[in-house]
Amino acid sequence: MSNEHSMRRVTAIRNGTVIDHIPSGQAMLVLEMLGIAGATAVPVSLVMNVPSKKMGSKDIIKVEDRELTQSELDRLALVAPDARVAIIRAYSVAEKLTINLGEELVNVVRCTFSNCITTNLREPQAHRLKVVQRDPLQLRCHYCGRPQNLGELANNVL
């Protein structure tokens, strides 16, 4: 099945953002991380587990009438570091964005260590996870220094 066929499973959007090459099964989490899960004012289309030459299978999200910002997209580095993002205007790709992991994830997720100072949700300073290694991804909490369990991190999205 062609890539174009996968993209066409849902209607093309006039204006908005398309996020392609999301690892299979992660689309719901991506929506959650972008704060557009559940009831939202904008139409969102989502296809999951469609065939992909590059990835075997993948998820795709289309968000209508909303252009996601670079900083919003950078939050996805944790779950979809290789996702491709296109800003659509008048049915055409107006801009292509890539997700940038950066050196540190600030206020994206909470540390997974149960005795970290940041588990007190009333503490006001930013949640900070440092990128120690990119491939495979390794993160450490800026405060307690504990290496992070990537599986558990998905439950700690802010």
Partner: protein, 314 residues
Amino acid sequence: MAGLITMDDLTNEQILSILDDAERLLPVARGEIYLPLLQGRILGNLFFEPSTRTRMSFETAMKRLGGDVVNLGDVKTSSVVKGETLFDTIQMVDGYTDIIAMRHPRQGAAQYAQDAARVPILNGGDGAGHHPTQTMLDLFTIKQAHGRLEGLKVVLAGDLRYGRTVHSLSHALTRFGCELIFASPDLLNMPEEIVSDLRSHGANVIETEDLYGSMADADVVYMTRIQKERFADEDEYARCAGAYKLHARHLSDVKQDMIIMHPLPRVDEVDPSVDTTRHARYFEQAFNGVVARMALLCRLLGVTVPAKIEGGAL
């Protein structure tokens, strides 16, 4: 430098230079010479967890150098029980003091406080995390006994899982090329991430349950208490408690200059029969807490310790 949160905040050169300062400050720590290097400065002691030696030695260090100390006091009667965040507490104490010594049950609390503070923070222990001022006094004690830190064989024994003292110390010893032997009951092994961290920094690490068999050619045996308060499960504690009971009779085949250290308090892991042997160093080690912290207070407050300290006896 800002504060001292982990030993990574100090280079090896800085460590050795602070230990040299500490050496020169010994007569001041003993009260033989009065040297008010820190007159007019105030230390804030924030101990959110019980402490005897660390809190008292910080206070003694500050007062021996002519400085003053304000204490958070009992956490149960402070604003912490009213739900004050650490951030807010630090904002307040930051305004009252020139430097803060802090112990907190949560890991990462010291770094968190440093990020919130203007004044330097000295980490006096954060959960099972780091305890760098203890490491400095441990290094001072080892250097005092052996004249060097490089290339020694050090056995760390007891609770290596929860013992923050041994976490910080093993990192520091690795930087000085020491050979490390971790002797602990299975449940209290050194955390895997620390062992792999040490190995990735070139450490020669051996893990064993056999403490007594590991002591023969050791230069230092560092004992620790099995900490009841760190166990959620009573049965697990019962399985580990009393795993090691070092007695004078175990010391017949050790090196003459081997020293036995312990961060104290001890329960029964070091029998009092050891106290009178040439190897026991834990009480000197506790005293060294004062001199090491004096040197650290001076360094963090930007006060130079004179190259020569003499006269001015009380």
